[in-house]
């Protein structure tokens, strides 16, 4: 949930708009860790996640300096900027495939088998999230990992509540198809049954 909802956040934002250094430092301290967590879950790369946090706050500053930036929902605004940055990252490079082989673990060092399997599973979940549409992905990320309510998610996406619920429904359906083995097998059976020659 937004830790600074209400008057205190509005005051903080008002001071930040005047480029008050204490307010800016406070905002950074409030949100940098959670933004980092958000970024690393999706990016899976420490350096990229740090870049994402730095770029998010830099864009925030530039917006304030230009007399723009958030009007009320500061946290929602920051997450939206971070989300857009991550989406842009994946526009520049291909999204990892859903079918991951067992050689895939990022450290390059030998790992215990259990750890390798865990890493593969994590990468699979990450890949599945990345195969969602950007809006679906953000709904899942904010609701599941950040524990936000529909109202806050709607503010972050700048969409009505009904649209958020609909996005969530479609996202869950897509994740089920991509992640759950039974569903996957069932889906394959359906695919086979409609193919000519089977």
């Amino acid at each position: 949930m937004d830790r600074n909802m209400g008057t205190s956040q509005e005051e903080l934002l008002a001071r930040a708009k005047r480029l008050d250094m204490e307010a800016l430092a406070e905002i950074y301290d409030l949100y940098n860790s959670s933004l980092y967590g958000y970024a690393i879950r999706l990016l899976g790369d420490v350096e990229l996640a740090e870049d994402c946090v730095a770029e998010t706050f830099s864009r925030f500053l530039q917006a304030l300096n230009a007399g723009k930036g958030p009007q009320t929902y500061l946290q929602a605004y920051l997450y939206r900027v971070a989300h857009n940055w991550i989406t842009d990252q994946y526009r520049r490079q291909p999204i990892p495939p859903l079918s991951l082989d067992e050689d895939m673990h990022t450290s390059g060092e030998p790992l215990p088998e259990q750890k390798v399997v865990e890493n593969i599973q994590k990468e699979k979940v990450r890949a599945a999230l990345l195969h969602l549409t950007p809006d679906q992905r953000q709904v899942i990320m904010l609701k599941y990992y950040e524990g936000w309510g529909n109202k806050e998610v709607a503010a972050a996406l700048d969409k009505p509540l009904g649209a958020v619920k609909s996005l969530q429904h479609r996202a869950l359906g897509a994740l089920k198809r991509m992640l759950l083995p039974v569903e996957e097998k069932h889906y394959e059976c359906i695919q086979r049954s409609v193919r000519p020659g089977y």
Binding site: L61, G67, K68, G149
Partner: protein, 377 residues
């Protein structure tokens, strides 16, 4: 309380929970990120100024028009001011129209002139850096557009790109020690992005710069990136080399105008020449720049004048825009800086024009530097 989990398929929840734990963050990186952010914020904060508005000509005019137009002299002044405003309005329209011009078009020189003016008017290192980034991107776009239309890329455009790249590196010389690393990292990131974008554009484009031009531009970007990489490892050496090669000479020229070396007095009452350490002749000796490297030549009264706001973001969301996009021409932030930049001849034979921000003439600095951002001395 996670309202989402309560209503969710436990199998999906199990899968998603794999990403729930986040690996511990490196505290050093976190601290560096915070420092970087605060440095950037400080650069945007307007400096405290005790500048007396009534001392400049605008202040005088405002004071005059604030009261009554009592004398014919003031009425004449008002008429002149009106004509000036009308002329300035026409000029602004021309400058605005020139912003989209290409090197083979008539208004291109106006575009370059307006860029030089903007560079000359920047009042903070961060603003100067943002502007040089924007200019680098502009030049690269021009080069690609020219090539795609089958036109040759003029050397002057490539040279200008090189100059902007060098200007961005020169910013490092003028900033405080604690700002060096974040700024260098900023430059490094910008160069990497440029190389990546340029490479992608080249790959996607059927036409594109000719192979020679392509390599030259790519090499230019890469060389600057290498310099920055080395500079991040040893910032002091980097600043020292740049200070000695460009800024140093510029500031020496400024100082030598203000504090001329005393000539020995024939009567014997003056100081002996040897005491100045000058054993090579009567010419002035270079004076070491101050240790803090703050040699931008900015006046303490300078208002921020940073109007380089963020441009449109890459994505569809316009609000959190980022990056210096095309901006309307900056208004002169402060007319109190005198009648405008004056050319300065440096001891090394450079002709330095602060308004144009360029060095012309033979350069043997070895840094590949042929430009420096100018501030009104």
């Amino acid at each position: 309380m996670n309202v989402f989990k309560d209503r969710f398929d436990p199998d999906i929840e199990k899968e998603l929970s794999l990403l729930e734990s986040v690996p511990p963050r490196d505290p050093e990186s976190a601290a560096r990120g915070r420092e970087y952010f605060l440095t950037e914020a400080r650069a945007l904060t307007p400096p405290v100024s005790n500048y007396d508005e009534s001392r400049n000509w605008i202040g005088v005019l405002l004071t005059a028009f604030g009261g009554r137009l009592r004398s014919p002299v003031i009425t004449v002044l008002a008429s002149i001011a009106l004509v000036f405003v009308i002329l300035l309005g026409g000029t602004s329209a021309t400058v605005y129209a020139a912003q989209g011009s290409m090197p083979d078009q008539v208004l291109y020189s106006v575009k370059l002139l307006s860029e030089d003016l903007r560079l000359g008017l920047t009042s903070s290192s961060q603003a100067e850096l943002a502007l040089t980034f924007e200019l680098v991107e502009r030049r690269i776009e021009e080069i690609i557009t020219l090539a795609e239309t089958g036109s040759d890329v003029p050397d002057s455009v490539v040279n200008r790109l090189e100059q902007h790249l060098d200007q961005s590196l020169n910013v490092v010389v003028a900033i405080d020690d604690d700002e060096v690393e974040p700024v260098m990292v900023q430059i490094q990131k910008h160069l990497r992005d440029q190389i990546q974008d340029y490479t992608q554009t080249k790959g996607q484009s059927q036409d594109g710069p000719k192979e020679g031009d392509w390599d030259r531009i790519r090499d230019m970007l890469q060389t600057n990136l290498d310099k920055v990489d080395a500079g991040i490892k040893d910032p002091e050496a980097f600043r020292h080399s740049y200070r000695n090669n460009t800024r140093y000479e510029y500031h020496y020229a400024e100082e030598s105008e203000e504090e001329p070396v005393e000539e020995p007095v024939a009567s014997g009452e003056g100081e002996p020449a040897e005491e100045s350490g000058n054993t090579n002749g009567p010419g002035p000796q270079p004076v070491e720049p101050p240790d803090n490297g703050n040699g931008t030549g900015q006046q303490p009264e300078d208002p921020p004048g940073n109007t380089f706001g963020p441009g449109p973001a890459e994505n569809a969301d316009p609000e959190p825009g980022y990056g210096p996009g095309p901006q309307p021409e900056d208004p002169p932030a402060d007319s109190s800086n005198g009648p405008g930049p004056q050319p300065t001849v440096t001891p090394a034979g450079y002709f330095y024009s602060p308004g144009l921000g360029t060095f012309n003439g033979s350069s043997d600095s070895g840094s590949g530097s042929n430009g420096s951002s100018g501030k009104s001395p």
